[in-house]
């Protein structure tokens, strides 16, 4: 059997996705034996020139992690799309924009100001010194997931993708037995379906953040007042965070056919707070509970800001986060 030609690329990413490939432990030896790695900037030396020299469709499959933040990210995404038969959005940032999608809540100038300080230190797309011109890729006005730059064939959610799913993907890559295009390597149901905790359907009377109390390890975290994103999040990871007594933060994105994960969670939580219909709480009580949720975007849209209208920088004020 011919070796599978594999590429792994990182765009705007932290590097965790590349590490997650090694999480398959000794199976990485099968990958080394069964695949020819044509591109992996994190682990192998290759230049963009090499990538340009491949024929269109020459690489069998590319696992693309990271979001589209700079013009370089977009350009390489388009190049990879042309060179690869299959393109995988690998990890939260490629899938939904990820944690770094929260940067969309700030204007680019504000981001530069925070990172680089005064304007004269900001990176320039073109600068010259001694007659030489240095060009840097532009920082785009907002961050987008991979699927907004190019067509994506498969999606592997997670921050980072969990081991069993990485195994499943790489096994499919090595055997050449790939599922139909459009497949998401995860469950089609939400996280609660695979969470071992017991639901008691209690009303939430107080919102708790993870550092404020030790959760009961058996009971549903939402029932205890912790904002657990499970109901609005795609399963497939085996509920590892709730199993470690931490609420789900929603890294796997929304379940199938739900466009806006944060909005789905917001609905869920609003329904669980208070008990207006029984007349046990007043609207003022309910509002007091709702006000205990701090940082709504950061909680409900931790990984999905870049895919929601709320993180698309439609601004009536330049930097809403300055309000405090």
């Amino acid at each position: 059997m011919p070796k599978a030609k594999l590429g792994i690329y990182w765009a705007a990413a932290c590097g965790g996705c590349d590490c997650s490939i090694l999480e398959i432990n000794e199976q990485i030896l099968d990958v080394a034996a069964g695949a020819e790695i044509l591109l992996w900037p994190c682990a192998a030396d290759a230049k963009y020139e090499d990538l340009r020299n491949y024929r269109n469709g020459e690489i069998d499959i590319v696992l693309f992690n990271g979001a589209i933040r700079t013009e370089e990210n977009r350009e390489i995404a388009e190049l990879i799309r042309a060179k690869a038969k299959y393109l995988v959005a690998y990890g939260s940032c490629a899938h939904t924009g990820g944690v770094i999608g929260l940067a969309n809540l700030s204007e680019r100038d504000r981001i530069f100001e925070t990172v680089y300080g005064p304007r004269e230190r900001w990176p320039r797309t073109e600068s010259s010194l001694d007659g030489c011109v240095l060009r840097l890729p532009a920082f785009r006005t907002q961050l987008t997931p991979l699927s907004e730059a190019v067509d994506v064939d498969f999606t592997v959610p997670g921050c980072p993708p969990p081991r069993e799913i990485v195994r499943e993907l790489l096994t499919a890559v090595l055997s050449g037995d790939l599922p139909p295009r459009g497949t998401v390597f995860a469950s089609s149901k939400n996280l609660c379906e695979e969470c071992p905790r017991e639901r008691t359907h209690e009303r939430i009377g107080r919102i708790l953040r993870p550092h404020e109390a030790e959760p009961d390890p058996e009971k549903c975290l939402l029932d205890q007042g912790f904002v657990c994103m499970g109901p609005a999040t795609r399963g497939g990871c085996g509920a590892v965070c709730p199993a470690a007594n931490m609420p789900c933060t929603g890294c796997a994105g929304p379940t199938a056919d739900v466009p806006d994960q944060g909005a789905a969670m917001l609905n869920t939580l609003a329904s669980l707070v208070g008990a207006g219909e029984e007349g046990e709480t007043t609207m003022a009580d309910e509002d007091a509970v709702l006000m205990q949720i701090e940082d709504i975007i950061g909680t409900f849209y931790r990984f999905g800001a870049a895919t929601s209208i709320l993180g698309r920088r439609y601004r009536e004020r330049a930097n809403p986060t300055d309000l405090d």
Binding site: R140, L143, E148, D260, G262, L266, N267, L269, G276, R312
Partner: protein
């Protein structure tokens, strides 16, 4: 005349519950009460059916304002839908605020089937308010997201 044509006419989507607010809108109609033509009424079974995602979708597709009309507290045909809607819209307005979209664009009102007058007043007041708030910051064309206009 140019004053009238240049005036910003907001697009308002109103999700009205069929048991109270939609009937209230009907009453406004049969009572020949006039109200601004900016509102596009959409009948839903309950204000509790209007999820945050539906409101965001309306804003994303170009609505300048979204009104949700439900039964008065205690009157919900499905017992508690309007309470759920209230909590949901309260949270959603905070989310809008945090992300830089004016929360006044989303409003929840209790309008009963007998309150044709209140429907009229609400639409007039909301249209005026949205006119003050201004055009939706969501662009009408779907240009490539993130591309830099300045080059």
């Amino acid at each position: 005349m140019s004053d009238r044509t240049d005036r910003f006419e907001p697009k308002i989507v109103a999700f009205l519950c069929r048991w109270c607010s939609y009937a209230g809108a009907d009453l406004a109609g049969v009572s020949r009460l006039s109200y601004p033509p900016n509102v596009i009424p959409i009948r839903v079974n309950c204000s509790g059916r209007v999820t945050a995602g539906i409101v965001l979708r309306a804003l994303e597709r170009g609505a300048d304002g979204v009104l949700i009309g439900g039964c008065h507290p205690g009157d919900c045909h499905y017992v508690s839908g309007n309470y759920k809607a209230r909590r949901r819209i309260a949270l959603l307005r905070r989310a809008l605020e945090e992300s830089g979209i004016d929360p006044r664009r989303v409003r929840l009102e209790w309008i009963s089937a007998s309150e044709g007058m209140k429907f009229q007043r609400t639409i007039a007041a909301f249209t005026d308010e949205i006119r003050t708030v201004g055009r939706s910051p969501v662009p009408e064309t779907t240009a490539e997201v993130g591309a830099d206009a300045e080059g």
